[in-house]
């Protein structure tokens, strides 16, 4: 909300306090000043200029060549405005001025071959309004050379204050003034209303009825006759413009002025267009329609609060007025509405219509139900002062059940218990009174106050403590640095993930963080995705069901920027729907963390001493096994291999614990890659991270280095080509005695010379006993027996030893 410091100065005496101090203290007290617009410094360079001559620019039809005098010297200035003329007093920006709109600096310029030494300004350029159709023409009485801050009274400071939702009372100049008064120990001066009423009674000219007192607890109105709708006087237009509003006509401007002064939104109806001279406040019994001020027909849901006359709806209460009763240039008689509406009701309507106004913004946060009559009278008095007419006697004020103020007791000891320091009791009392609380009773331990109805946020003792703390200033609260040791288990649910991230990066992978929101195409690729009811866009409308599609999109993006070689990992949650209907409980869906590894492109480029290496299936397998070794899950999980029968991979391997799979991966199918426009192979592996986390890790034990020599034997066989290393290894390991400790493959050879559909595999066998030295003989015996077993089992032919 924009607040004018000059306006505030009419409400609280702060002339002696520097603006910087006011700004800083307001911010500290919770009315955060987000930006400051200081007119004095913004307009310091601009002066009144007199246009002494005007000619056409020699080379441009639409430009004028003017001479501008600042009272001492004359400057040649090129001006593009159609309304510039000799003899005018104008706003002149000499060289070096900074133009507020666009923040550019005026320099000596050559325009179409002619030099220009300054600029004649429009309102838009000075950010005085958005009018850029011509330059500002100043009144005759201004003196050339006079600073325009003086000539135009541009000496205000405008504060943009962020008002938090709990402080509807601060959505006005009086509200802000009240906080300032409390902070600086000053008094708020509420403007007096000087009502000159005629002897006609307002109740003879209009009446109000509330049919729904729950949603409209109070409705007040003033009636004026024979007013004139016209342009507002300068002072009012200036006030309105400073807070960022556009002057419209005196009636609208006054209602806005009073709203920004008091916080009470007002609405003026053309009394002659109110059928039966009657206002009825009621809620819609069912769906209905309404034509709003912007000439749109809007549909309203059941229970929308409406302002009606004897025949029809004339406004959606608190949100927007209707075409049929609005003030026009010919309006003579008006009814000023000043009501208090139920905040939830207004919020529901405003949300439903996606329509928010300054008025609805205030109503839905909670206006002051005690202030409706004052605001209506304040507006009536100003209207009469400005546009004549007569104010009818009395006020219409329907208030079936008075909203009571809350009484609260504040224990001084509780302040200390919450804040950790004590505040002088007298000070506590003064702060609360300055904020509008009324002292009821007082003892040495506590005090009881009644809270003004303008502060719906103060309902409990803790709320009073907050008020005291923020006005006294949080700076006064000491910072106590103590560490109390809590005995008991320290827990870190994220520690395994941290460990995995360190290991994965150590194994050469870079961590990704992908947005779990993605398109239906990606999300549906791997599961039953959950959709958002209100997505930002179609490509972020679903929750991912696997980390793979998002990662493939990353591969695509990197390839686009010329980065083809990728080793990546990610830990993140995936979401799957378990029911077809709407999600109603945590049982209806599953949110689980996963861990993904991905390899694609080259592992290393060609260098001076080695050829390039490309990631393949075995790079992935090696990576996964190294990873499992590092988290102590080697020798715990089983490998399983298959081709086909998988949504994502055409060559798959999986890791399982017993029968339950805890992760799978492999080479991503070509048809999947095609959807991402990826031509190079991609290898990926995805773990169920919770499963990985919950498997009991083998406690590592130290084992002595071998003290006796190993005996190594090699053999090679010719097998049928469909015989796998895995099965031969398993058979040899199983057939060997306890002396055979390892079987590894060191060569594979496929050639027609071996025979059709044959291949050769060569193995290294390691024999040892950790307690003694083996003899050549016993190894020889076992080795020979293995040769004959393998030969027989696989119908293999020994090729060499």
């Amino acid at each position: 909300m924009k607040v004018s410091l000059n306006w505030l100065k009419t409400l609280v005496d702060i002339k002696d306090i520097p603006a910087d101090e006011i700004i800083q203290k307001l911010t500290m007290a919770g009315l955060e000043v987000e930006s400051v617009d200081d007119e004095t410094s913004k307009y310091k360079d601009f002066i009144v200029g007199l246009v002494t001559s005007k000619q056409k620019h020699p080379n441009a039809d639409k430009l004028s060549l003017c001479t501008v005098s600042d009272g001492r010297a004359e400057f040649q200035v090129i001006c593009g405005a159609p309304n510039v003329d000799a003899g005018q007093k104008v706003v002149f920006a000499p060289i070096g001025s900074i133009i507020p709109n666009g923040k550019f600096k005026i320099t000596k310029a050559k325009i179409r071959g002619t030099e220009s030494f300054g600029m004649i300004c429009s309102e838009a350029e000075l950010e005085l309004s958005d009018d850029h159709t011509g330059i500002i023409v100043l009144p005759e009485d201004k003196i050339p050379g006079q600073p325009i801050t003086e000539a135009l009274g541009l000496n205000d400071i405008i504060l943009e204050i962020g008002i938090t939702p709990n402080r509807p009372d601060a959505l006005s100049h009086i509200g802000v003034a009240r906080d300032i008064a409390a902070i600086f120990n000053r008094l708020v001066q509420i403007p007096e209303v000087n009502l000159i009423e005629s002897d006609k009674k307002c109740t003879d000219y209009a009446s109000v009825e509330i049919e729904d007192p729950v949603n409209c607890p109070r409705y007040s109105a003033k009636v004026l006759l024979n007013i004139k709708v016209e342009e507002s006087p300068e002072w009012l237009k200036e006030r309105i413009k400073r807070i960022g509003l556009r002057p419209i006509n005196n009636i609208v401007d006054i209602t806005n002025f009073v709203m920004y002064e008091t916080g009470q939104p007002l609405h003026a109806f053309d009394l002659d267009n109110l059928s039966g001279k009657k206002i009825i406040v009621r809620s819609t019994p069912g769906k209905s329609e309404f034509v709003t001020l912007d000439s749109k027909v809007r549909e309203l849901p059941k229970d929308t609060l409406l302002i009606c006359d004897a025949e029809r709806a004339v406004a959606v209460a608190g949100v927007m007025g209707g075409e049929n009763s609005e003030i026009t240039g010919s309006t003579k008689n008006i009814l000023i509405e000043s009501a208090y509406f139920n905040p939830s009701s207004i919020r529901r309507t405003s949300k439903y219509l996606s329509f928010s106004t300054d008025a609805s913004y205030r109503f839905e946060r909670g206006t002051d139900p005690g202030n409706t009559v004052y605001a209506a009278e304040r507006a009536a008095a100003i209207i009469k002062e400005i546009s004549g007419g007569e104010i009818l006697q009395g006020v219409i004020d329907i208030y079936p059940e008075k909203i009571k103020s809350v009484e609260l007791t504040l224990r001084y000891a509780r302040i200390n218990k919450i804040l950790g320091y004590s505040i002088d009791k007298e000070k506590v009392k003064n702060i609360l009174i300055a904020l509008g609380m009324v002292l009821q009773t007082e003892t040495t331990e506590n005090l009881t106050v009644s809270v003004p109805v303008s502060r719906p946020d103060i309902e409990r003792e803790i709320d009073l403590i907050e008020e005291v703390a923020r006005i006294d200033g949080y700076d006064n609260i000491p910072d106590v640095k103590k560490v109390t040791i809590t005995l008991g288990e320290k827990n870190d649910e994220s520690s395994f993930a941290s460990q995995v991230r360190e290991i994965a990066s150590g194994l050469g992978c870079y961590e990704m963080i992908n947005n779990p929101l993605q398109s239906e195409m990606l999300a549906a690729m791997t599961g039953e995705p959950i959709n958002l009811l209100n997505p930002l866009s179609g490509d972020m409308a679903y929750l991912r069901t696997s980390l793979i599609p998002g990662a493939l999109a990353v591969v695509r993006k990197n390839i686009n920027s010329g980065e083809n070689n990728l080793s990546l990992f990610e830990i993140g949650n995936v979401f799957n729907k378990k029911v077809s209907e709407e999600i109603k409980s945590f049982e209806d869906f599953e949110e689980k963390p996963r861990l993904l590894f991905l390899l694609s492109g080259k592992m290393s480029e060609k260098t001076w001493d080695q050829t390039e290496k490309v990631y393949d299936f075995f790079s992935l397998k090696g990576l996964i096994n190294a990873f499992l070794l590092q988290i102590s899950l080697d020798n715990v999980l089983n490998d399983l291999y298959y081709q086909g029968q998988n949504r994502i991979f055409d060559l798959t391997f999986s890791k399982s614990l017993g029968k339950s799979s805890i992760g799978e991966g492999g080479r991503v199918k070509k048809e999947i890659l095609k959807q991402f426009d990826i031509e190079q192979d991609v290898y990926a592996f995805e773990f169920d991270f919770d499963a990985l986390k919950s498997i009991e890790k083998i406690q590592k034990r130290y084992s002595e280095p071998l003290r006796f020599p190993k005996i190594i034997r090699d053999f090679a066989f010719i097998f049928d080509s469909n015989t796998t290393f895995g099965e031969v290894k398993e058979f040899i390991s199983k057939s060997g005695s306890g002396l055979l400790k390892s079987v590894e493959i060191f060569d594979i050879f496929i050639s027609g010379s071996l025979g059709d559909n044959k291949k050769s595999m060569a193995f290294t066998l390691e024999f040892f006993d950790s307690n003694r030295t083996l003899t050549e003989d016993e190894v020889e015996k076992e080795f020979n027996s293995l040769i004959s077993l393998v030969t027989k089992k696989f119908n293999a032919k020994l090729r060499g030893i």
């Binding site: 910072d479 106590v480 961590e511 993006k557």
Partner: protein, 337 residues
Amino acid sequence: MLLEKIQDIRNEFRKEFPSIKNAADLENLRIKYLSRNGLVSSLFDEMKNVSREERPSAGKELNSLRDEINAGFLQLKEKFSKEESKEKVLIDPTLPGRIVNYGSTHILTKTLEDIKAVFKGLGFSVYEGPELESDYYNFEALNFQPDHPARDMQDTFFVSKDFLLRTHTSPVQIRVMEKMKPPVRAIMPGRVYRNEAVSARSYCMFHQVEGLYIDTDVTFAELKGTLVSFAEQFYGEGLKYRFRASYFPFTEPSAEMDISCYICKGAGCRVCKFSGWIEILGCGMVDPNVLKYVGYDPEKYTGYAFGMGIERTTMNKYGIHDIRLFFENDIRFLKQF
């Protein structure tokens, strides 16, 4: 006969040996005398023709000749190989080293780990909670009234009437308190979502760390002390800080903590929007309504809570100007950290 031959060859060798000047000569010498078809070998072949009486003395002579030639050969071989390494530079040390592949954790992970390290040092545990939350945990139990404008502070993605993507990590506070009895001292990192248009300054998904401490005598003064020591450890000593009043439905009183801008040292720059201050977190004393929701007695227990954004902190610290860079996963970005 053989003895004479042996003597001739010995003489020939002794004459030839001093003239060997380099490795090539030596190789010729080796081929001539010591190779499989060399002179020494051929003398051994002739042994079978030697008479039984002559054999011992011939064998002895022949062995001695072989040893002499061998010794001479080895001596020169060693000499030449030493000289060779002195003369020739075989290794060009300016060639690049062999490539070692390495990776890295995401920069947001690094920031989070730094934050965790500080709070773990202060005795905080670490808990996590779900991203797909119920309205109850995300709003209601945190004292957001239905139809209250406070809900507008956090634009929400809904998946159904009562389920949504959490807008902050604060629901984990409720989950932790439901599970445990006081004292509770924990931080709760996690991913959160806001239905906000994507731009350089805001993204629809980001990360937060929530903090909570509940016990019998926890005060605002202690909240300030803890957060100041966090800021000193995380951002460095010598910064100024301030706590200013703010509003969150689940804390009362509420505050925002600013530190003096570490870029411009308070003089004003773009990072601090020329205010000299950078907002680093929101905090406050846990609202009694929240304590009641989880069954803690608000007369007996008090506590504080705080929450901070990881992205903003990281952007300020590393000079990253566009929040979207974190989630594009451009390898050229990832490799920088």
